[in-house]
């Protein structure tokens, strides 16, 4: 009897206990295991994360970190192909995303998180240009909980369109040190041309479980 002739249910259960780094190494053992890695669910992880800023992206999946990869079209396609060969699905209790000012194809993160099952999607947005992308990303995970930390004050109508959050925090007074994983630079913030009226404020308060407004 060889390992690969064992029941499929066992092999897939085995693969759900493997860490991501083990999956990377198992890909190299033989063709059959490379196929098994690609076709099996990676199982449950407490947290993962991604960051896209300027021309680089970083991704943490379980115990594996892919840091500061140049966001060229070739690299992104190669990474997505590699990810698709690393598991057929994955469950993450909380995924933290940081979207700074960048020119990376907005579909990249949506393709990256395809086949993810996410408990809570926690997004830091530091650039107004990314706000719509974040909304689209959240729409891809309708059953997830959302937390959003916004580093600028969006236009009020945009803000009122945000889906119900576990926590919505809008702040331009903090340093948000977690936002600076790649560049170490200070966060660039936009400004709204219109203030939040009392009526809008109470609508936001009614929509989100926790609302933090902390801006000057």
């Amino acid at each position: 009897v060889d390992l690969l002739s064992l029941p499929s249910i066992f092999l897939h259960q085995l693969m759900r206990t493997m860490e991501i780094k083990d999956r990377l190494r198992l890909r190299l053992t033989c063709r059959a295991f490379e196929q098994l890695v690609a076709s099996s669910n990676a199982g449950y992880f407490e947290d993962s994360g991604f960051e896209v800023e300027e021309s680089q992206f970083s991704i943490d999946i379980g115990d594996a970190s892919f840091n500061r990869i140049e966001a060229t079209e070739e690299n992104m396609e190669t990474f997505l192909r590699m990810k698709s060969r690393l598991f057929s699905g994955i469950e993450v209790q909380e995924i933290t995303g940081i979207l700074g000012d960048n020119s990376v194809d907005p579909s990249f993160i949506r393709r990256l998180t395809k086949r993810f099952k996410i408990g809570t999607l926690y997004v830091f947005v530091t650039a107004g240009s990314q706000f719509e992308n974040v909304m689209q990303l959240m729409a891809d995970f309708p059953s997830s909980k959302y937390i959003m930390d916004v580093g600028f004050l969006p236009e009020v109508d945009v803000l009122l369109a945000v889906p119900p959050m576990e926590k919505l925090a809008i702040s331009n007074t903090n340093e948000h040190s977690r936002l600076n994983m790649i560049t170490g630079r200070r966060v660039i913030r936009g400004e709204s041309s219109t203030p939040i009226t009392a009526d809008s404020f109470f609508k936001l308060l009614d929509t989100h479980k926790i609302l933090i407004l902390d801006y000057k």
Binding site: V1, D2, L3, L4, L6, P7, I9, F10, Q13, L14, R16, T17, M18, E19, I20, K21, D22, L24, R25, L26, R27, L28, T29, C30, R31, A32, F33, E34, G43, Y44, F45, A64, S65, F66, N67, I69, T78, F79, R81, M82, R85, Q93
Partner: protein, 172 residues
């Protein structure tokens, strides 16, 4: 309802017969279904023999494990968020598997028990053997994994280089 004193005879793939208590066989979905399919009253003893596609030596190991786990709760708990854990194998089970390590064909024994656990639908045993194998390969190098799992590399050098290039993005 299970009658602990009720006994079931199992016939193995190599022609042996083993009689065990239903207190043990209740953990096997396959055997319980076979008994149910006989459509006999629970009080009807003796039951007809149940044929299992497992050899005598492997069945003895399975029965040894079932005897230790006869009082485990049923149904076997559904997988939870902690299912990734492989470090929670009970001490008795670890010792049980360690015994095989003294045998030349320990890997074959493990595979035989895995196959038997699957055929007999014994979720607890399948879970334990899965964790055992996972612990053997977790954190190992590619070469060590091949050795432990007895795998032959059938990639070309070019294919290996391509996968290594992708994997290199992952920081150690």
């Amino acid at each position: 309802r299970i009658y602990p004193l009720m006994r079931v005879t199992l016939t193995t793939s190599d022609g042996a017969s083993v009689t065990v208590s239903r207190q043990l066989t209740k953990h096997s979905g396959f055997i319980e279904k076979a008994i149910t399919d006989m459509a006999v009253d629970d009080n009807a003893v003796p039951l007809s023999a149940v044929a299992v596609d497992v050899d005598d030596a492997t069945l003895k190991l399975v029965i040894e494990w079932l005897t230790e786990h006869r009082d485990d709760a049923l149904p076997y708990p559904e997988k939870t968020d902690e299912e990734r854990r492989a470090d929670d194998i009970p001490a008795w089970d670890q010792a049980f598997v360690q015994k095989w390590d003294t045998k030349e064909d320990q890997q074959q024994t493990l595979y035989a028990v895995i196959t038997a656990a699957d055929k007999l639908d014994i979720k607890g045993l399948l879970d334990m053997t899965c964790k055992t194998l996972a612990n053997k390969i977790n954190g190992k190098t590619v070469e060590e994994m091949r050795e432990i799992l007895q795998l032959e590399c059938d990639f070309t050098e070019e294919e290996l280089a391509e996968i290594r290039k992708e994997n290199a993005w992952c920081e150690n």
